[in-house]
């Protein structure tokens, strides 16, 4: 089968994109069992803490173009400035440029806490460029956390060097622990001057990933594991991956949906391999959550993303603009320290419960109400503070008698395929209503008349009454309202669906 696989268009790995900085975090509750020392490392990392990602920003520098394996979901030849996914990048940087860009961003966005090298290839397949960047930054900007993400093939060779550069977070993309499963994901690896195809290559990759994971854990370096959920290929296998990596000491698992479109030119895209539905992804994340902390706020960002998760300010910091900037990093450091301290104080207050955390509604006479999904439009800060029409993504929360939990996010804008794939098909609004499937309410700061009507017709109740309120509290308030209005009573759903029919 490998030869068939190999016959396709080129390209390479991606994996990392989200990995390092890009991605995701667990909730405080999920992190509660971790030792204090690890929790401290996680609290102010936007990619690891669900809370922190509303406050702290991250950036990736694209210094690592080369890769040592081939993944079926990756084609880095294709680069569209309008799309956001791992492995894609607009501008490759030299280590010197990367350092300058990082300092420029950190000076002008004081919330920027984390710098990751995530590609567009595999950072450890470009060790000179990657480590030149890390070495310079650990000297010049000691207040920035450094992360790296990798497919793991070269990892065991570089663990000690990573430790030397004070890298305390590494993300490994592990899509399988069974070579038979992996043969459907990785057509080949480049190993000891040979291209090794199929199961044989995957077996080496898995061994190296697991060894790297163990070595990092031994040295006290935090390891997050990313997995791409590929329906019919590894979806049923990922709970096992979760179990294995937890047992070996990874502290978080980030299960991401496959992104595959024909216009991306990836093997999966061209072959019509579908990605998971929101429901399938959430079900798998819930299954993995039984084993370990699962991240749900990953935005699968680009290997050159800049800003808060879910936003990309990369265009403001293109290299031609950076070159002309005067950066006084020494002057920026105290300001950064003040901003970070204020955010940490707010986060600590939240954790300590001095900021009101909504409690579950009382269930009178033992009535148990079903959980409800709600979408939220936010611009950050943990508040409902974005106009519906301006939202490029929605956070999804589940309200239930257990309280409110974050379950994921949904992108409102479609991936740009360029040319004639842009702008055709469904209207933007119809597309948003489609991605809100399963949500019964959408909370935003304001919303126009037309979308209000269409949302209502689609069974999603728009709600602008909680503008500028903390998300969890507002979601619980709306849940209570639904209970009070009898919307969650046993007979109500049946009545509703009859009325709609």
């Amino acid at each position: 089968m490998e030869s068939k696989v190999l016959g396709r268009i080129g390209p390479r790995v991606a994996k990392s994109g989200c990995a390092a900085a890009g991605s995701c975090g667990g909730t405080d509750e999920q992190l509660a069992h971790l030792p204090e020392e690890i929790r401290k490392k996680v609290y102010n990392h936007p990619c690891y803490s669900e809370q922190a990602h509303h406050y702290f920003a991250r950036m990736h520098v694209a210094v690592a173009p080369a890769c040592n394996i081939q993944c079926h979901y990756c084609n880095r030849k294709y680069d569209c400035a309008n799309e956001s996914r791992p492995g894609v990048v607009s501008e490759l940087l030299t280590p010197e440029q990367a350092v300058k860009k990082t300092l420029a961003v950190a000076a002008s966005i004081p919330q920027m806490a984390v710098l990751g090298v995530a590609g567009p290839g595999d950072p450890l397949a470009n060790p000179e460029r990657t480590f030149a960047t890390f070495r310079a930054l650990s000297e010049q900007a000691p207040d920035i956390k450094l992360c790296v993400s990798t497919n793991g093939l070269a990892l065991p060779d570089w663990v000690d060097e990573l430790a030397k550069c004070n890298i305390d977070h590494v993300t490994i993309t592990i899509n399988c622990v069974d070579p038979e499963v992996g043969a459907g994901i990785y057509p080949w690896i480049f190993w000891n001057n040979r291209r090794i195809k199929g199961v044989k290559g995957v077996k080496i990759l898995i061994e190296r990933q697991q060894k790297g994971l163990e070595m990092l854990v031994e040295r006290g370096i935090l390891v997050k594991v990313n997995s791409v959920m590929i329906p019919g290929v590894n979806d049923e296998h990922l709970a096992e991956v979760s179990r294995v990596v937890k047992q070996k000491g990874a502290f978080l698992h980030n299960v991401m949906p496959l992104i595959a479109k024909a216009e991306h030119g990836t093997f999966y895209g061209v072959m019509g391999q579908r990605g998971p539905t929101h429901g399938e992804l959430q079900a798998l994340q819930d299954a993995c959550a039984g084993n370990m902390n699962v991240m749900r706020h990953c935005r699968q960002c680009r290997a050159d993303a800049v800003g808060m998760l879910g936003e990309d300010r990369g265009a403001e910091f293109a290299m031609d603009k950076i070159e002309t900037m005067e950066i006084d990093y020494a002057a920026a450091m105290p300001r950064r320290a003040r901003v970070h301290a204020a955010i940490n104080e707010e986060l600590a207050a939240k954790r300590a419960g001095t900021v009101h955390v909504p409690s579950a509604p009382p269930s009178p006479a033992g009535t148990k109400y079903r959980p409800v999904l709600m979408a939220v439009a936010t611009a950050g800060g943990g508040l409902i503070n974005r106009h519906f029409g301006h939202a490029r993504e929605f956070l999804v929360y589940e309200a239930s008698s257990q309280g409110v939990r974050f379950v994921g996010h949904r992108k409102a804008d479609r991936y740009c395929g360029g040319g004639d794939t842009c702008g055709d098909g469904e209207s933007a609004l119809a597309g948003i209503i489609r991605i809100l499937e399963g949500c019964e309410a959408v909370l935003c700061s304001r919303i126009g008349y037309e979308p209000w009507e269409l949302l209502e017709q689609a069974g999603v109740q728009p709600n602008g009454e909680h503008a500028m309120e903390p998300i969890e509290e507002a979601v619980m308030a709306v849940y209570r309202e639904m209970i009070d209005l009898g919307k969650l009573d046993a007979g109500h759903d049946a009545m509703q669906s009859k009325a709609r029919a």
Partner: protein, 74 residues
Amino acid sequence: MAYKIIASQCTGCSVCDPECPNNAIREKGGTFFIKPEKCTECIGYFDDPQCVVVCPVDDTCVIDNSVPRYEARV
């Protein structure tokens, strides 16, 4: 006596450059090319030409028919 890189297919990822045992690969304008006088098709070094097996885009590093095949000196 050499491989060549089809520039229109080269992604400029640079992965071939450090793998070449003859230091025959150079970059120009964002893509890479092989200096034919330096390329030995990896004969004497590896079983497979390194640029071919490491390149992410299949059929991008190919034999350059405009120059004679490399022959290992005995």
